[in-house]
């Protein structure tokens, strides 16, 4: 244990003194996540608030125009609204024409095939329909005794989240874990393996009576700590930005079983980060120099991130139990479930067992590779 801790302490000391690793592991997550989140807030809120439409009509149509001038629609003026609609500057155009007597109108809506334009046309339709029913109700109220005759069906829409629906917060959290654990481990993993070969310090290390397992565990522990630190900073800065920016879409609903969910989430994050750390160490152990290791780590980065995105892109994918055996996909699926307050012990167990098993296997291979003369000297 003394040797493992000694190796870890030395590697961490070197990491702290390496400006490049410090920048990647500490400053970038602290700075980048708030910037990314602010951009997210800006674009999502802009999309919600500004559906620009033109509503035109002669005097006498003010009631219709007023009914449409409600958020999220924003009424704007235009000299050539149809041309602007075609050019994408407007989402919809509504022309209101009086029909001879008071409170009789013809409304024509122009829209494009764009999703937002369709949404705008649906909102206008619904508002016009509602106004029409209000006018009819007002005119018939004196003659009809039962007001429900005018609206025989009372329609209510209530949103219910699916059990396995991939929540935006869950997808976001699993992606943050995969991305920042990978980024945090990248430089230290290359430094403790390929970097040692390049500087020829590995020879001195391997010539000591310290056991290879002790050395590799010490190195692993140091990279793991840096990776967790990076991840922790990224999560904290993201959380702070979500709370300060009041990003409702990313605020996780606190379930009744919050303590169990939090503990299982931490466990899932710890085992996934361990696997990411050792995967990067293994890839770097094949390289003879720090630079060469970077060319191996880039595809590894993709290999880790892409499976994490899959559950978000293909939500129904989570129904396939076999996917829980695949590293990184299982992480994304389990984090998604936990974010929705679901604790599936079988799925969590699979994630932990496969992650720990692969971590041990990769660690053992990395240890052998560092001693392997064929890899070491390229002979």
């Amino acid at each position: 244990m003394r040797v493992i801790l000694g190796v870890m302490k030395k590697e961490l000391l070197e990491t702290i003194r390496d400006r490049r690793t410090l920048a990647i592991s500490v400053f970038i997550p602290i700075m980048l996540m708030p910037i990314m989140m602010t951009a997210f807030i800006y674009f999502t809120q802009d999309k919600e608030s500004d559906i620009k439409v033109v509503v035109s009509g002669p005097p006498g149509t003010e009631a219709v125009i007023k009914a449409l001038d409600v958020h999220p629609l924003k009424l704007v003026k235009s000299n050539d609204p149809i041309a602007n609609l075609r050019g994408g500057k407007l989402e919809a155009v509504a022309r209101v024409i009086p029909q001879g007597r008071k409170d009789r109108f013809k409304v024509t809506i122009f829209h494009t095939a764009d999703a937002t334009s369709l949404q705008a046309s649906e909102i206008i339709s619904a508002r016009v329909d509602k106004l029409g029913r209000q006018i009819a109700s007002s005119e018939l109220s004196s003659t009809v005794k039962d007001a429900s005759v005018l609206e025989p069906i009372d329609l209510n829409l209530t949103r219910v989240d699916m059990d396995r629906q991939s929540s935006l917060a869950g997808v976001f959290l699993s992606l943050i874990v995969l991305i920042w654990a990978t980024v945090g481990a990248m430089y230290p993993a290359a430094d403790v393996t390929a970097g040692e070969k390049e500087r020829q310090t590995l020879e001195s290390l391997l010539m000591t009576p310290a056991r290879d397992l002790q050395v590799i565990l010490g190195k692993f522990a140091s990279v793991y700590v840096v990776s967790l630190l990076t991840l922790g900073l990224a999560i904290m800065s993201t959380y702070a930005t979500v709370i300060i920016g009041d990003v409702k879409a990313l605020i996780i609903h606190v379930p009744d079983n919050v303590i169990s969910v939090a503990l299982f989430s931490i466990l899932a994050i710890l085992v996934t980060t361990a696997l990411i750390t050792v995967t990067e160490m293994l890839a770097s152990a094949f390289a003879k120099s720090f630079r060469e290791s970077q060319s191996y780590l880039t595809p590894i980065f993709m290999l880790i991130i892409v499976p994490g995105i899959l559950p978000a892109v293909v939500p129904k994918i989570s129904f396939n139990q076999a996917l829980y055996y695949i590293p990184f996909i299982s992480h994304a699926l389990v984090i998604n479930e936990l974010s929705a307050g679901l604790i599936n012990i079988r799925n969590i167990g699979l994630l932990i067992i496969t992650s720990i098993g692969l971590t041990a296997l990769f660690l053992w291979i990395t240890m052998k590779l560092l001693r392997d003369e064929g890899v070491y000297r390229r002979i």
């Binding site: 003394r2 040797v3 000694g6 190796v7 030395k10 000391l13 070197e14 003194r17 390496d18 500087r199 020829q200 310090t201 020879e203 001195s204 290390l205 391997l206 010539m207 000591t208 009576p209 310290a210 056991r211 003369e373 000297r377 002979i379």
Partner: protein, 238 residues
């Protein structure tokens, strides 16, 4: 202390060492001399357990390098051409780290480090980072690292290459004091160093041991060593 028996090592089709056998007893400093590619570094890697022979064996202080590498590592120190230090550690941190790896610790390690700092004149720069030290300073730290655990066998692979005269002289002086009760294998291209430090000459050529001769104090100078080496190499070429 060192016994090498019929050691052969090849890399793919290239033979690096071929049936090399020799012994180096206690108190002896054996020079390993030979042209580039003669097999010196391969021999050193075998003895320092970084590599294993294809056939034959090497024994260091009664421990076979292939069977008991851990025990061999505990009684061996090595310095290679490159000092190979951690740039972001100080010399003192380096020595503490390797002391820990060699199983040392506590007051005895601190005392040993202080001794080496004094003997190798590391005092003035032992709190600077290795990365900013000159090559001569780095090589002194590498020597301190190699002898930290007071090994019985010291392997030196061209340790003075690139050093100025003063640094090289300091190193040789330290080694001539350190040799007593131990055995040193010293690979070099410098015949002056062989004549000053070594009492045995081993010449390698094309992976084979082509000369094994005791050097008596009155029989050789740098020129004498040079003649013996060149004659041996000419013999193998012809």
């Amino acid at each position: 202390m060192i016994h090498i028996e019929q050691v052969t090592k090849s890399f793919k089709d290239v033979s690096a060492l071929s049936n090399v056998s020799f012994d180096v007893p206690r108190d002896q400093v054996a020079a390993i001399v030979g042209p580039n590619g003669a097999g010196k570094t391969t021999l050193f890697r075998l003895l320092s357990t970084l590599s294993t022979p294809d056939s034959g064996y090497a024994v260091m202080c009664d421990h076979n390098t292939s069977i008991a590498p851990q025990k061999v590592r505990a009684i061996t120190g090595a310095v290679f051409t490159e000092p190979a230090l951690y740039d972001r550690l100080t010399p003192k941190e380096t020595l503490n780290y390797f002391g820990m790896l060699y199983g040392l610790g506590g007051p005895s390690l601190r005392k040993r480090i202080d001794e080496l700092i004094e003997q190798l004149e590391l005092g003035e720069f032992c709190s600077r980072l290795n990365g900013v030290l000159s090559r001569g300073m780095k090589q002194r730290v590498a020597i301190a690292r190699a002898v930290l655990h007071e090994p019985s066998v010291l392997l030196l692979d061209e340790p003075t290459t690139g050093l100025d005269f003063h640094s090289a002289d300091n190193m040789l002086r330290f080694l001539s004091e350190y040799r007593h009760g131990r055995c040193i294998l010293f690979a070099t291209h410098n015949f002056q160093e062989v004549s000053l430090l070594c009492n045995r000459l081993l010449v390698l050529g094309k992976g084979r041991l082509i000369l094994d001769r005791e050097l008596s104090e009155d029989s050789v100078g740098a020129e004498g060593v040079r003649s013996m080496v060149l004659e041996a190499i000419r013999g193998i070429d012809s």
